[in-house]
C-alpha cells in the first residue's frame, strides 16, 4: 500500500477537547487515485495533515510510501507532494527562484535542470522570472503544483486544491492529477466538488464525524446506497452516520 492508516486519532483542545479525528482506517494502493469526501468538520484536513506529518496523531499509526509517520516523518515528507488551499507562494520570489529553493530543500540532484523541466511542463517559462505576486491565480496555482512535484514524489496528498479557483485554474489541478495517475503516482484527493471525484478517482472514501464511513468505487457505493448520483451517495452515507451517531 502507498498509504495505510490504522486507527488514526487526533484531539484538539480549544480549550474544550474536540475529537477532530476519532478513528481513520484507510488504504490507498500504488498508482491509485482516491477521493476523500466529507462535510466540513469531518476530519479530512486533519487526517491529511497527519499523513503529511504536519501533525502528530494522538493514537494509531500510518505508513506513507512505506514509511511510518511516527518513526520516519522526514522520509514520509521526502516521498509526498502536499498541496492545500492554504499553501501559498513567496510573493517576492520568482517561480524559478522558488522552485529552485524547494528543489534544493528536497535534495533534488541537478535542481536547475529539474526546475527548467517543471517550468516547461506547466507552461511557466515566460513568467519564470516575474515575481510570484504578479502572476495570475492560475499561474500561481501552477507554480504551487510544480512546487509539490519538484522532488518527483510517488505520493500526492491534495487537500481541496481547487478551492476558490476559477474553472481554468481548477482545470490545471485536475490535469495534474490525471497526469499523476498516468505516471503511476498515488493520489489522495480531498474535495467538496463531487464532479471532480467522479472524473478523477478510482475509489472514494467518505468521512463523517472523524471517521471513514465508507470506502469503495463509485459503482460499489451506488450499489450499497441505492443512489445513483454521487451527491446522493454522499448524503446517504453521511446521513446514515448522523442517524447512527
Amino acid at each position: 500500500m502507498s498509504i495505510r492508516a490504522r486507527g488514526l486519532r487526533k484531539r484538539f483542545y480549544t480549550p474544550q477537547p474536540v475529537d477532530a479525528v476519532r478513528r481513520v482506517d484507510l488504504d490507498v494502493g500504488p498508482g491509485e487515485v482516491v477521493g476523500l469526501l466529507g462535510p466540513n468538520g469531518a476530519g479530512k484536513t486533519t487526517t491529511l495533515r497527519m499523513l503529511a506529518t504536519l501533525m502528530v496523531p494522538d493514537d494509531g499509526d500510518a505508513e506513507v510510501a512505506g514509511f511510518s509517520v511516527h518513526g520516519e516523518p522526514a522520509q514520509v515528507r521526502a516521498h509526498i507532494g502536499f498541496l492545500s488551499p492554504n499553501t501559498g507562494l513567496y510573493p517576492r520570489l520568482t517561480p524559478r527562484e522558488l522552485l529552485r529553493h524547494f528543489a534544493v530543500v528536497q535534495g533534488v540532484d541537478r535542481p536547475d535542470d529539474r526546475v527548467a523541466a517543471l517550468l516547461a511542463q506547466f507552461a511557466l517559462e515566460e513568467s519564470a522570472d516575474r515575481l510570484c505576486e504578479r502572476l495570475s491565480t492560475g499561474q500561481q496555482q501552477r507554480v504551487n503544483i510544480a512546487r509539490a512535484l519538484v522532488h518527483d514524489p510517488p505520493v500526492l496528498i491534495f487537500d481541496e486544491p481547487t478551492l476558490g479557483l476559477d474553472v481554468m485554474a481548477a482545470r490545471v489541478v485536475l490535469d495534474c492529477v490525471r497526469d499523476a495517475r498516468a505516471a503511476g503516482r498515488t493520489v489522495l484527493y480531498s474535495t467538496h466538488v463531487m464532479r471532480e471525484v467522479e472524473q478523477l478517482c478510482d475509489r472514494i472514501a467518505i468521512m463523517a464525524d472523524g471517521a471513514v464511513r465508507a470506502t469503495d468505487t463509485l459503482a460499489g457505493l451506488r450499489d450499497r446506497t441505492g443512489a445513483h448520483y454521487l451527491e446522493d451517495v454522499f448524503l446517504a452515507v453521511v446521513q446514515a452516520t448522523d442517524v447512527a451517531a
Partner: protein
C-alpha cells in the same frame, strides 16, 4: 539564505528598516552635539585624583587621558579628567574640585613655577586648570542611546519576526516548508537566525554611526558590540516566541507594541536616579545591559561588572531563544491547531 533574500526583495521595507534608524541616529547625534551642555576638561594632580577617587561616579568624572592634551610645563600635572553633565552639575563639581586644586596649587604648582622665577597667584589657577569648555556630553547621550538601541533591536526584530512567522503562516508558506523533508527545527532555527541577523545589523549600524559621531575610541566599538549581542538574543527570543505563537500578524502587531514599550521602558528604568550598575541590576533583563551600555559609551565600564553583565545577559538571551524554540516546536503552535 532564502529568508534573507526574500526580506531584501522587500526593498522599501528594508530601506525603512535600516535607513530610518541610521537617519534617526545621525539626527539625534547631531542634535545632542549642539545642545548647550558645558563639559569641562580639567587638569588635576595625582593628589586630586586620589582625593576624588571615591567620588568619581557621583561626580560624573572619568579619567580619559594621562595629561597628554594639557600642555602645562609644570611637574605634577599628570591627569586630565572629563567632567560630564549639565552646567549646573558642572558648577557643583567645580566647587568640589576647587579646594583640591587649591591645595595642589600651593604644594606643587606654585613652587614649581617659583623655581623658574614666576610667581603665580590663585587667580591664575583656572586659566590652566580649565582647558576646554565644549567637548561632549557623553554621560547624557549615553542615557539616550541605550533606550534607542533597545527600541531599534525590538522594532527591527518585530518586523522580521512578524514577516517570517505570522505572515508566513497566514500565507501558507510555513505549511509548504514544513511539508518538505527539512526538519522542523531547521525551519525554526533559520527564521530565528534571520530575525537576530536583521535586528542585530540594524542596531550595530546605528551604534557604529553613533560612535563615529561621538568620536569613540577604537576599543569602544567591540565593547558595545559585545553588549548588543545578548540584547539581540533576548529580543529575538521574545519576539520569535510571540510571533510564532500568535494567530495572525494583526494580533502580532497588536501585542508587539506593548512588548516594545516594555523593553524600551526597562531601558529607561536604567536611566533613573539611583539605578546604578551593580551585581543586582545586572541580572534584570535589558536594564543590566542598558546600564552597561551607558557606562561603556559614557564613563567607562569596569571589566569585572562588564563580564558579569555580559555573562548573565548571554545566559538570558540563550534561554529566551531556546524557550522560543521549545514553544514553537510544540505540537500545533507553529501551524496552529
Amino acid at each position: 539564505m532564502l529568508e534573507v533574500r526574500r526580506l531584501i526583495r522587500q526593498r522599501l521595507s528594508m530601506v525603512l528598516l535600516v535607513l530610518t534608524p541610521l537617519v534617526a541616529t545621525v539626527l539625534l547625534g547631531w542634535t545632542v552635539g549642539r545642545e548647550g551642555v558645558v563639559v569641562q576638561k580639567v587638569a588635576v594632580s595625582p593628589a586630586a585624583a586620589a582625593a576624588l577617587e571615591a567620588d568619581w561616579a557621583a561626580l560624573g568624572l572619568v579619567v580619559v587621558d594621562a595629561g597628554a592634551p594639557v600642555s602645562v610645563d609644570v611637574d605634577g600635572v599628570d591627569l586630565v579628567v572629563h567632567q560630564r553633565g549639565d552646567p549646573r552639575r558642572s558648577a557643583a563639581v567645580m566647587a568640589r574640585l576647587e579646594p583640591v586644586l587649591g591645595d595642589w596649587e600651593r604644594r606643587v604648582r606654585a613652587p614649581a613655577w617659583a623655581g623658574v622665577g614666576v610667581e603665580v597667584g590663585p587667580e591664575a589657577r583656572w586659566a590652566l586648570a580649565v582647558v576646554d569648555h565644549s567637548v561632549s556630553a557623553a554621560d547624557g547621550t549615553a542615557r539616550l542611546v541605550a533606550p534607542m538601541w533597545v527600541f531599534l533591536v525590538l522594532s527591527g526584530g518585530l518586523y522580521v519576526a512578524l514577516e517570517l512567522f505570522a505572515v508566513d503562516r497566514e500565507r501558507g508558506l510555513l505549511e509548504a516548508l514544513l511539508a518538505t523533508r527539512v526538519d522542523r527545527r531547521t525551519v525554526v532555527d533559520a527564521k530565528t537566525v534571520a530575525v537576530a541577523g536583521v535586528s542585530g545589523l540594524v542596531v550595530l549600524l546605528s551604534a557604529g554611526v553613533w560612535g563615529l559621531l561621538r568620536g569613540w575610541s577604537v576599543w569602544t566599538y567591540p565593547g558595545v558590540a559585545v553588549l548588543l549581542v545578548p540584547l539581540v538574543a533576548q529580543s529575538t527570543g521574545g519576539l520569535v516566541a510571540l510571533c510564532g505563537w500568535v494567530s495572525s500578524s494583526r494580533v502580532g502587531r497588536a501585542l508587539g507594541m506593548p512588548v516594545m514599550l516594555v523593553g524600551a521602558g526597562l531601558a529607561v528604568v536604567a536611566g533613573l536616579p539611583g539605578v546604578e550598575l551593580n551585581a543586582v541590576w545586572a541580572v534584570v533583563p535589558v536594564v543590566g545591559l542598558s546600564l552597561a551600555l551607558e557606562a561603556m559609551v559614557g564613563t567607562g565600564l569596569d571589566a569585572g561588572i562588564g563580564v558579569w553583565v555580559v555573562g548573565v545577559a548571554a545566559l538570558q538571551g540563550v534561554g529566551a531563544v531556546m524557550g522560543a524554540r521549545w514553544l514553537l516546536l510544540r505540537e500545533g503552535v507553529l501551524l496552529g491547531g
